[in-house]
Symmetry: C2
Subunit: 341 residues, 2 copies
DNA sequence: CTGAAAGCGCTTACAG
DNA sequence: CTGAAAGCGCTTACAG
């Protein structure tokens, strides 16, 4: 560390004005010469300006530019929790496309708490984000309305809300895929560790699953469907209740891969093996699903694509377009946890 | 979506100037009345100003404030990849403390690639971040020097570099803990799936492990130590080489829990069970370690605390202080994958 | 092709 | 306690 004593007096950063002064031209000339699409600037001055800018290590001040142009080129992103691998992946898709388009992404954890969400959203608005990707919607909350009221352009991602611009996976179809797979294998006694049914994801996956069961004439008792948070611990606890409700369960549908990990732990502690005693299906197809000692059958929910598409739609919105809501088709990925392989 | 036709002409956002005009006072008065520590403002005007601000939904423009004050109150964060749960956790610690202190965090993935790192860092500097937390350092790269050259205050986190302000875990000690644990269990034939040894984390964990083995008079052949990336797939591939080098291996040290997941997959495919045939130890103690069907012995590397501390140090730096580098003590967490329980 | 001016929204010494 | 002015660094019509 600074073992060489006091930091050297940091030289003031170069500005358009300082460059202009040094070159003896007007600041507006420098601005034009350095702009992405230089219009009406002689090649000679352009070269001179760019050379000096390079030499002085000039870096444009995006704060000043934002104030002047009224556009920050910053996109906000609201997520329940970025440390959840599903949201991390979504963020990756969003950020990738944002960067490509010259935008910076700012992400905030809201932990599905209204108070935090409000604070973080407020801060984003103070920072004047040009738009927002919102991935923490709950079905019966007012977040979508609040957002609408702020007037900031936004698109919901992953978790949808009726009648709102949203991009997600078709979770109803995903739930159906799981049920059809398990029914085809001959299973009839089901448990559902549903994940968070306040969110459209957990809700629709469960509804799709149950609908397919009903159509097949297979009853799933209400007590066999237990909601929980989308994390390992909560999934493990919910599984205990499922086992109480359906002691002779032969197949469990978990609302996410993380939840499935919790299910796995509880089954292990209960002395039941997968898939011999109980078949297990997760959701999302995270990396870990394939890596588990017993690879997990799951549904590829195309999170990365959802993130990319959400950004594309948001940018379209910012450009004055009217993007259509979208639901990507989920894909069943069969592995050993349902007896295959 | 906007089924109700064209968006309503969005009313221009309130500004200090618009509030001042409406109240018939000077803009500077409004600014003072709304400041966090209002100095020299009558209670009457303060109340009037705040009431109107509330009514008009005034939100201060942080972009303008930043330009004026020369401080953005934004902290940058450079990580290899946020979708890696270790970095996601680090970010959580950083962001938590940053928010508390009134700062916003901006994070960028550099994928351990020099070109991306340079681009993302440059963008951060154009955004005039007040400081940066750097978690993507490599031992023999020039990133630390480049950062120093930019003059932006920064602290390295997790991955350290000699003679630089850094906060991380004592990975030498962590590697030793693992070796001592396995030696005490009687193991003598080791494999190391080291993770990325270009980073201090992977490097020091391995060096600590080998040093403890050597002191115990136990030889670990060079071919038994295989570096890889800190992800599942790369860990799985490296394990194959370890098994070739030491066919009768009885214990494997993985440089991270994710790498351990890869090891697990390869052992499974090779028909070797954990812990009966091979004992396995990971590193980081992510949530998934405890949740695995065979719970994973690992080292708690206190990632969240590292992130919190890194921010604390950075803020201290910004305040003119001279924080000391820090290395948190790691803790061994013994579970079934090494035969316990 | 270049210059001069205005202004984005704020804060902060400086007067009074 | 309040007002008036300056200025952060930029961009963009408007002249010439």
């Amino acid at each position: 560390m600074d073992s060489d004593g006091a930091a050297p007096a940091r030289t003031r950063a170069a500005t358009l004005t300082s460059l202009a002064a040094e070159l003896g031209v007007h600041v507006s000339t420098v601005s034009r010469a350095l702009s992405d699409a230089p219009a009406g600037v002689s090649t000679a001055t352009m070269e001179a300006v760019r050379r000096l800018a390079e030499e002085r290590g000039y870096r444009s001040n995006l704060t000043a530019r934002a104030l002047r142009t009224g556009r920050t080129r910053v996109l906000g992103m609201l997520v329940p929790r970025l440390a959840d691998p599903v949201l991390a992946l979504l963020h990756e898709g969003v950020d990738e496309r944002a960067i490509e388009a010259g935008y910076t992404t700012v992400v905030a954890n809201t932990l599905d708490r209204a108070d935090l969400r409000e604070k973080r959203l407020d801060l984003m608005l103070q920072r004047r984000v040009d738009g927002a990707v919102v991935a923490d919607s709950l079905l019966h909350s007012h977040i979508a309305d609040q957002l609408e009221a702020t007037g900031v352009p936004h698109v919901l991602a992953l978790r949808c809300v009726p009648d709102r611009l949203c991009v997600g996976t078709d979770d109803l179809a995903g739930g159906r895929l799981v049920a059809e797979h398990l029914l085809a294998l001959g299973h009839r006694r089901f448990g559902v560790v549903a994940g968070d049914t306040r969110a459209s994801t957990g809700h629709e996956r469960t509804v799709g699953f149950l609908a397919a069961c009903e159509e097949a004439g297979v009853e799933v008792r209400p007590e066999a469907v237990v909601p929980c948070l989308f994390d390992v611990r909560s999934g493990a606890a919910a599984t205990e209740r499922v086992l109480e409700a359906v002691p002779d369960v032969t197949a469990i549908f978990a609302g996410s891969d993380n939840v499935a990990l919790g299910v796995l732990g509880t089954l292990r502690d209960a002395g039941r093996s997968v898939p011999d005693d109980v078949a297990l299906v997760g959701y999302n197809d995270l990396d870990l699903a394939a890596a588990l000692p017993v690879p997990l059958t799951t549904v590829d929910s195309r999170i990365l694509e959802v993130g990319q598409l959400a950004t594309r739609m948001l940018l379209e919105l910012l450009g004055g377009g009217s993007p259509e809501p979208a639901r990507l088709a989920p894909r069943l990925v069969v592995r050993a946890s349902t007896g295959a392989g």
